[in-house]
Symmetry: D2
Subunit: 321 residues, 4 copies
């Protein structure tokens, strides 16, 4: 992440100004407002604004005339209760606005979350900077054979080198041509220098999908938790996980009690299907499971064992192997 | 609107506290935060929180690293441009949270606007107060004969008196019975005094729809403008107009430039259908319209004349009458 | 549910017509199209239209050029996989449209589900029928002392009789006055008989919340499952459960494989919080739990025991009591 | 658009099957179901399914027990009325599902419309085909100087040739490298042939944004009209206009009355701001406008003249030039 001096100055100036407000505060988040948190090689997440705090959750749950808070213990209990029983509307009463810089192929995953407000940098209107994502070698992995949309083992040094050579080379060349078509190249321009270049809305199609874009993204806390439960998950693509994990840390600063409830009842919770529930009840009684009782396929069975740190040999009847 | 001493105190205490923040401010709105603005006989609108200001609109439109503002004139121009060309996403970057007290039959209209967050006072969990809406006599009007869902002329004094007698009487009686069923009546309770009363989720069904409810309602500026364009409109039911007009004044304090753009390009704008556009082109050329050129039905024609302050006699060919 | 002869005839006529289509079919649902399924004393649920079937789920998951189906077994496996891994978008590719008649206080709960399309009978424009909900005596219960928004034990015969007397009496009287204000009463009208009555948008406020309303409600399968997971749940208010359970049966006819996956992975699944997961792991190992290891409050603990059919005495260390 | 024999066969088979249904029909749309309509060089739009027809709009507006239709004339009048007065919910009662093949940079514009269901071909899971968009030479234009996000004059033959050479060359090379990284290239593969190639979720980032993707996209009629009002507009990017115009023709087949109302009251309607309305009123009275009365900037003024086919000289006071 290399911000221009101009951009850094704009950030610094914005951070320096302090105002007096009657609004609900989150001191820990206010302190890091506008700060860019680096993600991947050139991306970042910045919090631009927020509305509400943990007390705003209880305040709206109580449809309160004042702050809506009682004893810390009661507030914590209420927040846990709301999270546990899927009373989601009070969490919708907090809102956060991010400025995110991210590779386009990740932006395409991200935007599938529709319950958010987004304003993206327009490549119809403006020219994209020459900034593209190149993965770290330890992130270069083969297609997983177990999981059809995941990664398996890491490439060796020689393989990695070739992949990085390709990614860099194509990104460079495509950008050079982008500039040439836009008449923004000092030496080689397609068009007569007295004309504007090819329309930006067309030229942009020549860029590869690792180019960085930027957007303002605003979401309420409930929908952010939903996003994080899917994207800060170990099955999500590494690159979007990196953003989600950074955002999770920022949520912790913002609304520590809600964050804790989220971790306890959502992120680190276990979801047992109907057949899995039956098996667990049996196991708790000290009984073993016969193979024909499993009630689930091979992959689901593997996931079941993983969820509860179980070993097949310990829970299957002897003749099960 | 008669708030209890306890509620007034809670409001006063919340208003008295000041904090330091780095967030975008709207001084004029911050000053009236938490203040209840009276609507109808016992309702109110309070602003509980807000995110962003006019500069936040331009900031996100420019995907800016700083405040995103330039010269006031440029910002104003950009906001007008965005409003005029229906670039709605930058207006979604501002958010506001209201606490509203309103009659249930109005809440039922209001909630049809789905793009908002709402947390309502729960009558499953709590007991509703004895507060019901009684219209002012000058609001009691007959069913309109022109507009199938509007009001016509006002009732006379005797008629009004009877309507108000009915509304008050039924509201009172239903509430007395509500309390009786809940075992909350000192004298007459349905159930043995050692038991709790009828479940609240059931007892509430005996209340009439002019009873007041309360909710926290949070919405982004774009969707609020959409709400206001429909509900601060002269064809909306008077009672919801009253809320919308109060909110419109609060929006003016919050984001004066966006408010101005909204009034100019949306609220006070004129929408001409394809046939109406043709007629206007003719009229501008100084030509008159023959009756068979109208291209619209009687009601639409009346609306067309009203929109442009036209008189039929002035624009129709002589033989048109 | 007593539909007028006219309404029954309209339904019969609509059911009698058959057309030829190339669209995806669900024979079992098509057969009961338009049929009113009775709910509560006078309400109903009718399926008016549907789009897609189980194959449409797999078709969109595979972004297919044909039907998108393979062997039944593979389709079933894919649908289970999608449900298990929260890949919700393929389920959004099916849509269903209901006509529902329901008491207003239940409509107010229902409408909180925002991701649906709704068109309600307008009491600004039309006059509501004299139809109100009266619960069966065995549904009249006291406020629960355990669950602040639930029901406890049932009323005795005498108590029930008084509640029903109140509900009926107030509903009757409010409707008589409604008619009087609307000038629709043969004998007593408020207004001169040459005038229209009080505007309908005003008169309606005098009705109690057990009056029936009607709406068309259209939703995609994913959001319908979300609705059903909350409203066909035993903690939901009985009256809305009654509607949800009727709809669940209709879903079973429509998309049997998706229904089965929903029951297995959502409706009958168990959700274990982080601390509950720890306890389960211990219990499976045959260990007992000491009271200070619980990591949850009294109510949560009770819910935990219920979820897994556990008895406190069996799993707590002896000195735990 | 060159579909493989296999895909064509799948389409043909699906089209050949006919079923009997009780559902609302649209014969003209049913006939072309599944048919790919070519858009751009290799893209298409296919209608996969639909729910409802014009009668379904009036049926839900009337909360009807039967078909909901009356005389054709009344239905037409009602649909026009609903469109004119922005009663949008009845139009939400119709739903349509498309299968669309489109360049990724257009998909990125399209997806900003959030009120739709979408299921996209997954490049994490599958390998993208070698199909990329190359514009027709007459679509290659320079950046507009008037409109910062539009196109100006067309390139000359030599310039076009160079642009097309770049686009083709980079698309080809990037795809070759994509295959090499995936170990799908017969000759040059990065990895040992006994291993799977680079994870697909990574390799895809090397493709340029003119590559085609595919999705199932499902939307209700109201939101489709909103999409079409923005994207079938002459200011939209040519490539997305091409899709929108194809869809508009399909809507005409599906719901001809709603289509007509949309064209009349939305697409071909004129929107006059508050100052523009004032000017129009003056002009109708036969008065001319003095320059300081304009009340709008240069660009807005130009748009105003265009909207009503006015010439500045005809309407400005003589000293205005």
């Amino acid at each position: 992440m290399t911000l221009t001096a101009e951009k850094n100055q704009a950030i610094d100036e914005t951070q320096a100004e302090l105002f007096q407000t009657r609004r609900a505060m989150s001191d820990d988040l206010d302190t890091v407002l506008y700060e860019p948190f680096k993600v991947l090689d050139k991306g970042f997440v910045r919090v631009i604004d927020y509305m509400g705090n943990d007390a705003a959750v209880t305040q709206s749950a109580r449809v309160s005339y004042g702050k809506g808070t009682k004893m810390l213990n009661q507030d914590k209990g209420l927040i846990n209760y709301l999270m546990r029983h899927r009373h989601t509307t009070p969490f919708e009463m907090c809102e956060i606005k991010f400025h995110v810089k991210l590779p386009i192929f990740i932006a395409r995953q991200w935007i599938r979350h529709r319950t958010a407000n987004v304003n993206e940098y327009s490549a119809r209107y403006s020219i994209l900077s020459k900034e593209f994502y190149i993965p770290e070698p330890d992130q270069l992995a083969v297609q997983s054979t177990l999981n059809k949309q995941g990664r398996g083992e890491t490439l060796n040094a020689q393989e990695s080198a070739r992949v990085l050579e390709i990614l860099r080379g194509d990104s460079e060349r495509c950008y050079d041509h982008y500039q040439e078509m836009l008449n923004e190249d000092a030496d080689e321009n397609i068009l007569d220098e007295n004309r504007s270049g090819l329309a930006r809305e067309l030229a942009r199609m020549n860029l590869t999908m690792n180019y960085y874009t930027e957007w303002y993204w605003k979401v309420d806390l409930h929908n952010l938790f939903h996003f994080l439960s899917l994207r800060a998950d170990s099955h999500a693509q590494y690159e979007i996980q990196a953003y989600a994990n950074t955002m999770l840390e920022l949520v912790k600063k913002w609304v520590p009690l809600s964050y804790e409830a989220f971790m306890k009842y959502r992120k680190n919770a276990t979801h047992l299907s109907e057949p899995a529930t039956k098996l667990v009840k049996k196991l708790i009684k000290g009984e073993k499971i016969s193979p024909d009782e499993k009630g689930m396929g091979a992959r689901e069975w593997r996931e079941f064992l993983d969820q509860l740190d179980l070993k097949e040999d310990d829970i299957l009847l002897a003749n099960a192997a």
